[in-house]
Amino acid sequence: MTRRDWRKLGPGAAKFATLATFVVLLAFPFYWMLIATFKQNIDLYAVENNPFKFNLPPTLDHLKLLFFETGYVRWIGNTALVGVIVVIITLFLAVPAAYSLARLTGRWGQRMGIAIFLTYLIPPTLLFIPLSRVVAVLGLQDTIWSVVLVYPSFTVPFSIWLLMGFFKSIPKELEDAAMVDGLTRFGAFVKLVIPISTSGILTVVIFTFTLVTQEFVYALTFISPESQQMVGVGIPIFLVRGDVYFWGSLMAACLITSVPIALLYNTFLDRFIAGFTVGAVK
C-alpha cells in the first residue's frame, strides 16, 4: 500500500472506534433491558451468571406480570388520552399564535418571539409547587385533568417556536395572492396556510405527544393514585411491592414504552433540530 493509503486508513479506523465505543455505551442499557425482560428470575438474580446471555431459557413471565397484574396497561391508556387532548389544546393555542407572530413584522414580532422562547426556559421544577396548589384549589388533584391543564405550559411555547420558523418560510406572496383573489386574511390562513403546513403541524403533534410521555415532575406531584397515573411515573414508582423491585417487568416496561417513542422521534428529528438551531446556524 502506498503512503497515502496508510494515512487514509488512520482517520477511518479512529472514526469507527469512536462510533463503536459510543454506540455501545449509549445503547447497551437498552440491550440490557431487552435481555432482562426475558430472563428468568433465577437467572437474573444469580450473581455469578453471565448477564449478557440466557443461561436458562427465556421466559414470558415478566411480560405476563406486567400486562396482567399491574396497572401498566391502564397507565398507557391514561397517557395516551392525556397526550391526545394536550395535542389538540396545543394545536388550538399554538398554530394561530405562531402564525400571527410569524407575520407580525417589525420589532414587536421579534420581541414576542423572544418572550415565548424565554418562557420555555422556566422549568417545571420551579413552578411545580405553586401549580400543585392551583391544581388542588381547582379540585383537579389526583386526576388526569390536572396534567391536561398544566402540560400545555411547556408544549405551547415549544410548538409556537417550532411553527414560527415554519410559517416564516412560507412566502408572504402566497397569502397576498389569495387575498387579491378574494379571501380574507383569516380565510387565507385556514384555506391556504394550514394545508401547506401539514408537515410542520405533524411535527408539532409528534413532539407534543413525546413531550407528554416523557414528563415526570408534574405527574408525580399532582397525581397519587395508581389508577390515574401516567406511564412515566407509574413504572418507576408502582412496579415495586414494599422494597422489592420487579426488575424483569420493570425492564420490559421501559423497553416497550421507549422504543415506539424513539421510532416516532427519529422520523421527525431533522425538523426538531432545525427548531433548536434556528438563528444559531445560518
Partner: protein, 282 residues
Amino acid sequence: MFFPAAAYIVLLIGGPLVLAVMYAFSDARIGNPGFHYVGLENFRSILQSPSFRAALRNSVVFTVVAQIIVIVCSTMLSIALEKPFRGRKFTRFLILLPWVAPISLGAIGWKWILDSIYSVITWVLIWLHVCKPYGAPMWLGEPKLAMASVILVHCWRLIPFSTVIMLAGLTAIPKDIPEAAAIDGAGFWRILFRINIPMMAPIISVAVLFGTIFTFTDMTVVYILTAGGPFDSTQTLPSLAFATGIQGSDLAAGAAMSLFLIPVLVLIAYFMLRAAHRAEVT
C-alpha cells in the same frame, strides 16, 4: 389570534411564578396553605441548612462537569458521524435512544445497572479481574460513586442531544472552507481546531446552554436513582425542593429553594439572547 396562547401562558406560567415568589416569603404548608408574610425567614433557614448548601453545590458541580464531558464526547461523535456511511441512519437511531426514551425510564434502567449486588458493570469488572467478587463498589451507595453515577446518567442522556445539534452545525459549514484549508496546507487537527470548531461556536453554545438547563433543573434522575442520598450527597436544588415542598409538606421552604434556580436561568437566557443576536448580525 395570539391572545388565547398569550392568556394561557400568562395564567399558567406567569401566575405560578408570582405565586412561587409569594410562597417563598410566606409560611405556607400543604395542610395550611394560607399566606402569612414572614419576610426572609425561609431564606435564612435554608441557607443555614447543610442539606441546602450541599444541594446548591451539587447542582453546580453536576451541571458543569456533565457539560464538559458532554461537549467533548459529542464533538468526537459528531465528527465521526459527519460523512455518510452504510447504516448511518440505524447508528443514529441507536445513539439517540438515551435522549428520546422518557427520562424516568432511562433512569430506572440505570438504577438496575448500578444496583449494588446485581450490577452488570460490577460483573464485567469482576470478569476482568479488576474487582474481587462480593467486594463490589456500591455505585449508588457510596457518596462519591453516587455523585459520579448521577453525572454519568445525565451525560448519557445529553450526549445524543448535543451530538445531533453539533452535527447540524458541522454540516452547515460550507464545504469549500475545509477544502481551502487543506489546500493551504492544514492537516486534520489544524482544520478541526482552527477552522471547524471556531465556526461551530454558536452551535456549541446552543448545545451547552440547553444542556445546562436540562441538567440544572432536572430532579427526575436524582429522585429515581438515589432520592438524594446517600446522606444528601446527590441532592440537587430541584430534588431538594421537591423533597421539602411536596414530601415534606413545607411549601414555603420548597418554593424558596426553587427560586435559587432563577439566577442561573437568567444567566442562560442572557447568553442565549446574545448568541442569537450575534448570529443575526453575521
